[in-house]
Symmetry: C2
Subunit: 272 residues, 2 copies
């Protein structure tokens, strides 16, 4: 049975932001697997008067490739609706005239095609997976330790994620490693950074209290959105764990079985 106290806000809602992996689909071999009911739920949201955006910490592919995959899975999604860390960090690099040394997954490199990477004066790490070799970590470390004022950007701060062949360490773990090695604090680009959620709200033209975030990651999706003034609802799919419902610092505004149930509740409340 879903906790229904959060649903009181549904009538005044003007927009919904959806996390992608663990809410729309589960990643794994090939394109991964759709979470039952999610394709239909996105369709129903789109047919409603609610604004809709997607917000992911995915950093293994360009947004174009990523949206291609979601479309193959049956989702009606377009690139400009999707917010991910790589374009966000590219904007920050440009604004601050920084030239990155990249430690990222090969598939996301095209996002940095037009970024000056000569004579680097900062490091950007993403979910690099197999590229997190000892050699590549040493290289990133040497760039940082050689800078007078080392700057490290981390595309997210996730601990791990689940693929069909098991749990995999996420970028946050390697961020902590470099933070300790160089005695610095990384700048996190992506969820749960309030700046990142605010950029989504700006694009929707909404105030935080007018928008609801739905995600499977209690800290990064729900906590991040709440920190920004939005409501946050957790789904019991993806990386959800029973212990999330008694987390010491983050309490979701609501917990639902899956996206389909959340959308049902929201639209019913609004009289659709």
């Amino acid at each position: 049975m879903a906790d229904a106290s959060w649903i009181g806000c549904a009538k005044s809602l003007k927009g919904v932001v959806l996390d992608m992996c663990g809410v729309l689909y589960d990643s794994g071999e090939g394109d991964g697997v759709v979470i039952p009911g999610s394709v239909e739920a996105v369709k129903r949201l789109r047919a409603s008067d609610l604004k809709l955006r997607f917000c992911t910490n995915e950093t293994q592919a360009t947004r174009e490739k990523f949206v291609d995959k979601l479309q193959r899975l049956g989702f009606d999604i377009s690139v400009p609706e999707v917010f991910s860390p790589p374009p966000a960090v590219v904007a920050v690099l440009k604004e601050r005239s920084l030239r990155p040394h990249l430690l990222v997954y090969d598939g996301v490199l095209p996002e940095f095609d037009f970024v000056d990477k000569t004579n680097p004066n900062c490091v950007v790490i993403g979910d690099a997976a197999e590229n997190f070799s000892y050699q590549n970590m040493n290289e990133a470390f040497r760039v940082l330790i050689g800078l007078e004022k080392p700057v490290l950007f981390s595309l997210g701060q996730g601990k791990y994620y689940k693929e069909t062949d098991g749990l995999k360490l996420d970028v946050g773990v390697y961020m902590k490693a470099l933070e300790y090695a160089c005695d610095l604090k990384a700048e996190v680009i992506g969820k749960p950074s309030p700046v990142f959620f605010q950029s989504v709200l700006n694009d929707m033209g909404l105030q935080p209290y007018e928008a609801l975030m739905i995600g499977d990651d209690l800290v990064n999706d729900v906590g991040g959105a709440q920190h920004c003034g939005m409501k946050g609802v957790q789904v019991r799919t993806g990386k959800y764990r029973l212990s999330d419902e008694s987390h010491p610092t983050v309490t979701a505004d609501g917990t639902v079985d899956n996206l389909a149930q959340a959308v049902d509740m929201i639209l019913n409340q609004r009289g659709h």
Copy 2:
């Protein structure tokens, strides 16, 4: 000019503990390179009435292989005088009936030959260097996250060290990574753990105030020894940096140019 205020304690000293890498020799290709004057300094200490032990966080080789190398470099050192983390962790594992999953350098594996490693209920990481691959980190992580009460032993907590081809990340960096991934605190075996220094003192039959530690690592050698009640002197060789002399939390009892100078000062003060 060396600060000489620490030397007041030299007359009451009964033992000296020496760090090895950065004090006796610099590591690198092959056996590495002797630090000038160190072979002679060890000889002079051995000819004195002071007890002598060696204390290293070296975890890339067995003590036997490591002492072989030091002997080839000209040092008069034997295995029972050398304290390193692998035998220390083996003793802890035995005492607590723990079966480790090992993420260590291949060269140190023989230290664990007689340890039961089936169905692991803890993880031991050392300075694994190239073995710190993404795949091996995932494996260690999966063992930890699968345990009801995960236990992680880290053989030291160093940030990085210098080899002839550049700076290399040390075990502490990967310890921090796994701590964050699993929400736990590692148990550090080796310097700067007071338990480790105490085991050296026990072997010498000395009280902390009767012994002096000489090392190049301000936090792990000097700070660790001081935390245990010993005096700690830093040499300006190895990983010494000028900024160590104004470190926010650790102040050496003295700073000397190298081991030869420290031994000169101690023995002169004692009237040798």
